[in-house]
Structures are given as structure tokens and as C-alpha cells.
Symmetry: C2
Amino acid sequence: MKPKLTLKDIARELDVSISTVSKALKNSEEISTDTKEKIQAFARLYNYKPNNIAISLKNKRTKNIGVIIPDIVHHFFTTVFRGIEKYANQRGYNVIVCISDESFDREVINMELLANGSIDGFIMALSAETQKRQDFNHLREVTEQGIPLVLFDRVTDQIACDKVIIDDEAAGRDATRRLLESGRRRVALFTTQSYLNVSAKREVGYRKALEAAGLQVDPELILRLPYQYEEEQASEAFFKSRKFDAVLCVNEIFAIRGMRLAIKLGLRVPEDVAFIGFTDGILSRYSTPSLTTVDQRGEAMGERAAEMLIQKVEDRFDEADPTQFRTEVIPVQLIERESAVLGKPTKADG
Amino acid sequence: MKPKLTLKDIARELDVSISTVSKALKNSEEISTDTKEKIQAFARLYNYKPNNIAISLKNKRTKNIGVIIPDIVHHFFTTVFRGIEKYANQRGYNVIVCISDESFDREVINMELLANGSIDGFIMALSAETQKRQDFNHLREVTEQGIPLVLFDRVTDQIACDKVIIDDEAAGRDATRRLLESGRRRVALFTTQSYLNVSAKREVGYRKALEAAGLQVDPELILRLPYQYEEEQASEAFFKSRKFDAVLCVNEIFAIRGMRLAIKLGLRVPEDVAFIGFTDGILSRYSTPSLTTVDQRGEAMGERAAEMLIQKVEDRFDEADPTQFRTEVIPVQLIERESAVLGKPTKADG
DNA sequence: TTGTACGCGTTATCAT
DNA sequence: ATGATAACGCGTACAA
């Protein structure tokens, strides 16, 4: 077991000073060709690699970025994470992930831990609990320290920082409109019970689309489910007591479970009921029937978030002026598959 | 924008020495109650938090663990990651993830980068390319430096380190046996083309089960697909030219796609063809019909791997003797759903 | 009870 | 061309 070689080790072996070694390894002009070659050869031979931690301490930058997400099993976050990791890695940054598990406390603890020097900046999506309590002090503390922060998907107006989102309202509206245009008349909504920004916005879009088509919003057609629901009673009762010919679901799992239940109850998809979901995950692609869905462009969001963050990090390092904060809207895309057959869109929305 | 407070700052403000501050904040007996209270109050007021990097440098331990996985979109790795993160976090460790994307080079680069002080130990599953080339020098280098390493799922005999695996051969054998016991006679195998250890072992199990039942292995019934295949021609041809009443698939996606195709070709699942897959992901649970599958216990594997790693890390830190390496076999579980109806198992295998 | 000095590994500045 | 010194932030053995 050979411990890591340090500059000091090399200096001792070669009987020169530490700073000579340091300079030689950076090919400094100050050092004679002879000694440089000798030192470099030795370093190569024994596979010298500088210690990241020491460099971090010296430079006050870690080349790590902290990612805090509510959940990794949800496919959407996985793809965002993939986008972040891909871009960051390409730029020489590593990614430290913490999963808040939708818990406010875990979000705060992890954030404070990482903020103490472990990372150069944060990328995060707020936990459900955080959105519920509307308590953003931990974010504020971090930004006040000058640590760059990029929020994605689950964001808040309360914090001034870069943001990457999709236009959830427009996406909800367009999906609903497309259902109406394809001849559906009673469109139900399966959404979450809770305080998720994104769900709320999609619901607004849903309502607007109905109103724009001159239809009443029937509260009876809105089903609010627990975020991670497992039993099917609520939805089964819903199916049996209401008539509708289409469903907009705020996520993929609600859609898949809905379809499954519909089929079990003897309905045909999409003939009797059409389904549109959110999140283009593996479930959407591989389900039977496959799911027509709003692609949230997770990987693109992740890449863009990482790009924005790294730019801020390097600006700060180069003492560039703190350019203003931007909110980037990633265009979504409706992917048509089997669960809802749509015509061509009649008009483009913004 | 207020930069982080350091011990030095506090010392200056309170006109004491740095070490007094340091000791006071650790409640050392050496310091008078007066000064301790004064210093602690000040630190609390201005929210002093020690700098992780400085502590890492001093202690030669980072409280970070490096995780290198081939892919995060594959649900199995996601769940393992979740298990790792959960346990590590609980023990006060953070997780740095790198995705090798099945590439040997990316695996090597990331590993070397992290090995230079950024982490206290590694948890990883080998990339497909690494398994193909059978080149493990990067792993050897790391273990020779005394950095603890735990391999999971995709492991190799070539490296002496802790390992966490499932018994893939037994799992393949048992699944096949159960199909045979339920009356199936011609069991096909959908496996990967390549050099994945796990696929190979599952195939061995498949063969043994057939032989144990006195059946010939028919090479015609083995379909080898590219790892991330997207077209369905190969499998469609396979379906049309062969007769079989059951399929064992080495992963979830192969199974889902296979079922989909079978249904498209007019077969009933499970009546005409039964399917068993590997990996109990969301696809298995939510597909129609839902998939009977071998649960690889990803989260359990992750937790166990993290536990083994952290133990080695702390042993090393406490200069405990390097206890021998262990290979832990996580018991798998056959989850029966709709795609294959099995009877009770007749005998337990080891 | 408090402070000084040193070390962790590196780099940058200033002497020699 | 080379080396000594200080600094990054912290902890600790030792000195006062």
C-alpha cells in the first residue's frame, strides 16, 4: 500500500525545494530544462497527481457543484440529473447529489452542509414541504454569501437567482386544447393534492383551455391524488361515478395508473377515454397503449441549468460583474403516441 | 454579500488568538467559561460554520464517497444509488456521482480525478466496456493506494475488494425452473449481446434449469439483443420463426418490449407466452400486463454497499487492521404478477 | 487560561 | 535558476 505522493516527497527524493518541484511540474520558465526534465520524469514515473483538496483550499473553489433534488426515482429528476452531470463533467466539474426526499429539513441540512466550502454552487428543485411552508431562508443565506444558485422546475419568486423552467401553464393549456380539438368534450384532470407549483400551473392552463373553448370547468372532473398514492380506490370510485372522454394527468404515473384502471373497467383507450400525461419517461414509451405526453425536456433543463450555474461560478471567480438573473423557459413538446390521437394543432400558443 | 466567517475573523473581532477561538468552539475545558460564552455567542450570532475543505485537508478525510455507475436512467442503478445516498447521508457522508456511460475512458478519468483526495472511498459497478476489455488497472491503482472500494452488481474476480452482488445464476435458474414447473416446455431467453457478467450468469442458470429438467437447450431459442436496442425487427423475426411458450428476459426493458410485440402479433400474455424479467422497476409494476420479475433489490444492495464501504473507511481512519474482503450476496425475490402465473415453488435452491 | 508554532498540500511572491 | 516564506482555514501539542 503506497500512500499518495506529494510535492514534499518529490522534493525530498530529488533533493530540491518544494517550490522548485511545484514550478517544474507547471513547466515554469524559471526552472532550468535539466531540473524540469528530471522532476517531470520522476513525477510521471511515480504517477504524481496533485491533491484536489489542497488546491481547493488554496483556490477557494472546489470544482464541485451541489445538486439537491426531491427524489431520484421519479424519472424526470433522473433525466435532469443526467443533463447536469453530463454538462458539468464536460466542463471539469463533479456533482455532489443530495436527495431531500421532499423533506424541508433534509433540504436545509444538506444545503448548509455543502455550503460550507464543499461546492461552488447549487442546482436544485424545491422539495414539496419547502413549497408548502414557503420558507426559503436557507436559500437566502446561500445566495447572500454569494454562492451561485440555479433553481429548476420547482422554483419560487421569493428568491432572486437564475431559474430554468418549462411553461407549465402553457403546456397544460395546449395539451387540453389539443384534446378538445380532437373532439373530446369532457376532459378530466388528475392532479396532486398538494402544493406543487407545477401542478397548480398546469391546472390553470387546463382551466384556461376549457374556458377558451367556451366550456365550464366542472370541479367534479378534477381528481386530486396523494403524491405517491398506491391504492386505487379513490380513482376507481371517480371512474365509476363520472362520465368523461379524456384525462389530462400532471405526471406519468397518474396517467399510467389511470389507463390501467380504465382498461380494467372495460373502457377502451383512446377510443372511450384519451389520456395525456406529463414527463416523457420510460413508462410513457413502453406502456400499452403508449402514452401521449408532454415531454418536459429534463435532460435539456439539466444541461441548461448546469451551463447557467457554471457561468455564474466562473464569473464570480474572475470577478466579473454579477450579471442579472435570468429565467430560462425550456420549450416543451407534445409527443403523440397511442393513448390520445390528436389532429394537427390549429394554432401555436406562446 | 457577506463572505464566510473564519476562525481568524472571530479572533480578530474578539481580540483573542485563533486557537482560543477554536478551542472555545469545541467547548474545551482549557478555556474559561467567560471567554467560551463570549466566543460561542459571537459565533452563533454570525452563524459561524467551519470550512469543510480545511477540515478535510487537515484530517485527510473528506466524508465524501465516490459513486461511479454506468448509467442512471436504468432504474436498477437509480435504486442502488438511492440506497447508497440514503445510508451515506445518515452517516454524515456526501455522495459524488459520476456516470461512466458504459465507457471505459470515462470510468478511468472520473475515478482518477476523484481518487486525488476528493473522496474517502468508491462504490461502483463496472462499465460494459471495462468488462469487455478486462482492464482493471484503474481499480488496482486505487486499491493499492489503500482507498477502500466496493464493487456491486457488475464485479470482477480480478480485484480484491468488498463486493455486493445477487446470485444471478441462481436467480436465472430459479426463474426458469418456476416457468417449467408451471407447465411451460419451450422457454426462450432474451439476453444481451455483450459481455455483461450478470447476463452471462443468468444464462448459465437458465441452461442449468433446463438440463435439470431433462430438457435440451435449444440455441435457436436464445435471442441476443444490443444493449440499448430500439428497432424491433430482430425480435419480430424471432417471434415469427420460433415456437415457445415462455421467455426469460435478463432485464425489464427486454421483457416489456417483448410482451408488447407478442401482443401485437396476436399472442396472449401469459396464456400463450409467459414472461419473466429482471429488475423490479416502475416498468414492471405499471406495465399491462404487469411483469413477473426478479427483484434485484437495488436499494438493499446500495445500502449494504455503503455500509461496507463506510466501515472500511472508518477502520482505516482508526488504523484498525484491514479486515478481509467480503462478498455479500443479497437474496433476490421473484415477484409474481400477471405476465407469468407460477405455482408454489417445489423446492428452495441455494 | 491563553497563545505560539506547526502541519495538512499547494501555489504565489519575494529573496538569493 | 533555485529556495524560503507566507497564505488558504483548521486543529493541536506545547509553551507561557
